[in-house]
């Protein structure tokens, strides 16, 4: 029994659940709750991307595109077709998954830099579409998002969203943990280490890659939808290249192939800029410095790096 509970796929969501509940008592005001909610949302997208990057060893520089699809689905669908925001979020996640499935087939045949460039181009296409189709998306200035109502109750306030996004994160981490422990997860790790060996072992490499690409796209879209609903407003910059890079940075900083690392990476990049505002002009310099120090000292990312330090297996 204890062994089952301590298995990573149960332990990780448990740790996160304790973190979400514990922080809710520790955070003094709505501002801190909002920052925490932003961490949960980013972490959700980063977990998805980490499945792709950390486990399957494929890179995507266009993930903000999927994030944008989720965000704009809950902005556009309720406004244009009076769809309920929750259904719109579902539609956004489906659309992102479907798109990932369609473009994933040709794109995932590419490797290394070529894959990076192809996903980059794909992400830019989505960002450009969003900022150019002003009649639908409000263009570069963005558009408002209808507030979510559930059974006549208007969902608002940083504390409410803190719990909703925290719950989403725990569920996301639980699903990811299960996926990693499943045959698909083992197949992914195998193809991460050596595609040829994986193929020889009888793994359908193309299919495994496509599966994880679609799943990670859905994670990003759900995170995008959550952000749009929390903010009540969307702008195209959440779909653009810089946001893709931010997500990749969170994965690498937190630790590739670590679900808790995804949360740590997201937490660092969301919380630090808030902390560093007191440095005014030196904010970006200090942020860059901290990131560099982390990468130099903890080469494999925060969580895996600390774990190997604690167990004395220094790489």
């Amino acid at each position: 029994m204890l062994k089952t509970v301590l298995a990573p796929r149960f332990a990780v969501p448990l740790v996160l659940a304790v973190l979400v509940v514990g922080l809710s008592f520790a955070l003094p005001s709505n501002f801190y709750l909002r920052v925490a909610a932003l961490v949960w949302i980013s972490a959700l997208a980063v977990i998805g991307l980490n499945l792709l990057m950390g486990y399957a060893g494929q890179v995507s520089l266009g993930h903000a595109g999927f994030f944008g699809i989720g965000a704009y689905a809950v902005a556009v669908l309720p406004a244009q077709f009076s769809l309920h925001p929750l259904l719109a979020a579902l539609a956004g996640a489906l659309a992102a998954g479907l798109l990932a499935y369609v473009v994933g087939r040709p794109i995932l045949r590419l490797k290394g830099h070529y894959l990076a460039v192809a996903t980059l181009g794909f992400g830019m296409l989505i960002a450009m579409t969003i900022s150019n189709e002003a009649w639908l998306t409000g263009g570069p200035d963005g558009m408002p998002v209808e507030r979510l109502t559930l059974l006549g109750w208007r969902v608002r306030g940083a504390d409410t969203w803190y719990w909703i996004t925290g719950g989403l994160l725990v569920i996301g981490a639980w699903i990811a943990g299960n996926l990693v422990a499943s045959p698909t997860g083992r197949a992914l790790r195998a193809l991460h280490d050596s595609e040829v060996a994986a193929r020889v072992a009888g793994i359908d490499v193309a299919r495994a890659k496509l599966t994880v690409f679609v799943i990670s796209a859905v994670y990003a879209a759900v995170a995008g939808a959550a952000l749009a609903l929390v903010n009540g407003f969307v702008t195209p910059d959440k779909a653009n290249f810089m946001h893709s890079i931010e997500l990749v940075t969170m994965v690498v900083l937190g630790g590739m192939g670590s679900i808790l690392g995804s949360v740590a990476g997201a937490a660092i990049l969301v919380v630090l800029p808030q902390v560093l505002t007191s440095f005014h002009d030196y904010e970006h310099m200090v942020l860059g410095l901290i990131m560099m120090v982390i990468m130099i000292v903890l080469r494999s990312g925060i969580v895996p790096g600390l774990a190997s330090l604690l167990t004395g297996r220094r790489k």
Binding site: S29, N132, P140, D141, T235, Q274, T277, L309
Partner: protein, 384 residues
């Protein structure tokens, strides 16, 4: 291991100290907030705005503050990211407990922040351009810059006065150009003017000759209007000259900076554009009621920063002064009282023009706020 622990300990201490940094609200200061795009793609807006606010808050404090209390300004840099702006808006309300907010450099950040301030009941004076900010009117939201719709109206009024009725439009597809093009198309009918050509170009385009050739070939063309921002209009202006199009060219207030004249060179000669009086502060006749305000601001800004004055900093000046006057009239720092007094602002002379606000006009500027300028000899000149 020890070395690592030192790093981590240091970082944790730093983070903890900064997070615990809560500037205790003292009864002797009035806190006002700002979230501006000081860095990033819109830093040309946020940077002069932040400098202006800091400079004038210091000046006001030197002169004794407001209602006998010192002002305390909290500025955050949202780098034009709407999500960051929203977080900073929450922070200003919840954590810093400001009584009023000036700023929001772009329309996107402003729109993202509005719900926070409306829910909290904190007066918010935006420095962004689009008309959606104040139309429909929101209880606590105001703005100081003239709208793109007013720029269109100013251009069309000038065209009408010159007897020109058939115009070609060439618009940038960036946020500014797109929004202004829509506004121009919506008001053009009021002036009996007809759009005979309607072309667009992308933000990164380096040659607009094809679009201009199409416009040149439009039957009965009498003038061309270029709603756009950044480098695009300078390229349009150069191509315009190269193609030898001889009808008048109108640019928008989006290019109202010296760098436009430098980029467009000789081709800029004779181009007209609507702009704030700030650009021609030293050329205004002494009888002009706006002269002292814009000349003083220009001198103060250029002395303090060593940089040429920009209209965007002027918007921040207007916002701060409207707020300060409202606080003086209200005699208190209650956000609701301040809001009520901001709405009653009448006859305020700012860098953008005379402001007369009312319950259904939270901008309060009229067309006289814009001056029609013409570029002559590589410098601005009043065309009226």
């Amino acid at each position: 291991m020890a070395r690592f622990a030192k790093y981590l300990g240091g970082a944790a201490l730093l983070a903890g100290a900064a997070f615990a940094w809560s500037t205790a609200a003292s009864a002797e200061t009035i806190k006002i907030g700002a979230s501006l795009a000081v860095t990033g793609p819109a830093s040309f807006l946020g940077d002069p705005e932040a400098k202006t606010l800091e400079m004038y808050v210091a000046k006001i404090n030197e002169a004794g503050g407001v209602n006998g209390k010192q002002l305390e300004l909290v500025v955050y840099d949202d780098s034009a990211d709407a999500n960051k702006a929203r977080t900073f808006a929450t922070r200003l309300v919840e954590d810093d407990e400001v009584v009023a907010v000036v700023g929001g450099s772009t329309t996107g950040t402003t729109m993202a922040m509005i719900p926070v301030f409306e829910d909290a009941g904190i007066p918010f004076i935006s420095l962004a351009g689009a008309v959606v900010i104040i139309d429909p009117v929101k209880e606590f939201t105001f703005k100081t810059p003239h709208t793109d719709k007013m720029a269109c109206e100013k251009i069309f009024a000038d065209l009408k006065a010159r007897g020109l009725a058939k115009v070609g439009l060439i618009s940038g597809t960036g946020g500014f150009g797109k929004s202004m093009r829509e506004q121009c198309v919506s008001v053009v009918g009021d002036y009996g003017i007809e759009i005979v050509a309607d072309e667009t170009y992308g933000p990164g385009d380096s040659d607009m000759t094809p679009q201009l050739t199409n416009i040149k070939n439009a039957a009965g063309l009498q003038a061309v209007v270029n709603p756009g921002f950044g480098q695009g209009p300078a390229i349009v202006t150069r191509n315009y000259k190269q193609l030898g199009i001889d009808v008048p060219l109108y640019q928008s207030h989006g290019v109202a900076s010296k760098s436009f004249i430098e980029l467009a060179g000789d081709a800029a000669e004779g181009v007209r554009l609507p702009a704030s009086a700030l650009l021609v502060a030293d050329k205004l006749p002494d009888s002009d009621p706006q002269k002292s305000v814009v000349a003083d601001y220009k001198a103060a800004y250029e002395e303090a920063t060593g940089q040429p004055v920009s209209t965007f900093g002027g918007h921040a000046y207007d916002g701060l002064m409207i707020l300060v006057e409202a606080m003086k009239r209200a005699g208190s720092e209650d956000p609701k009282a301040i809001r009520g007094e901001i709405e009653k602002t009448t006859g305020f002379m700012g860098t953008a023009g005379v402001v007369n606000m009312s319950a259904d006009d939270h901008l309060g500027l009229d067309l006289t706020a814009f001056r029609m300028l013409e570029i002559k000899g590589g410098d601005w000149a009043l065309a009226e």
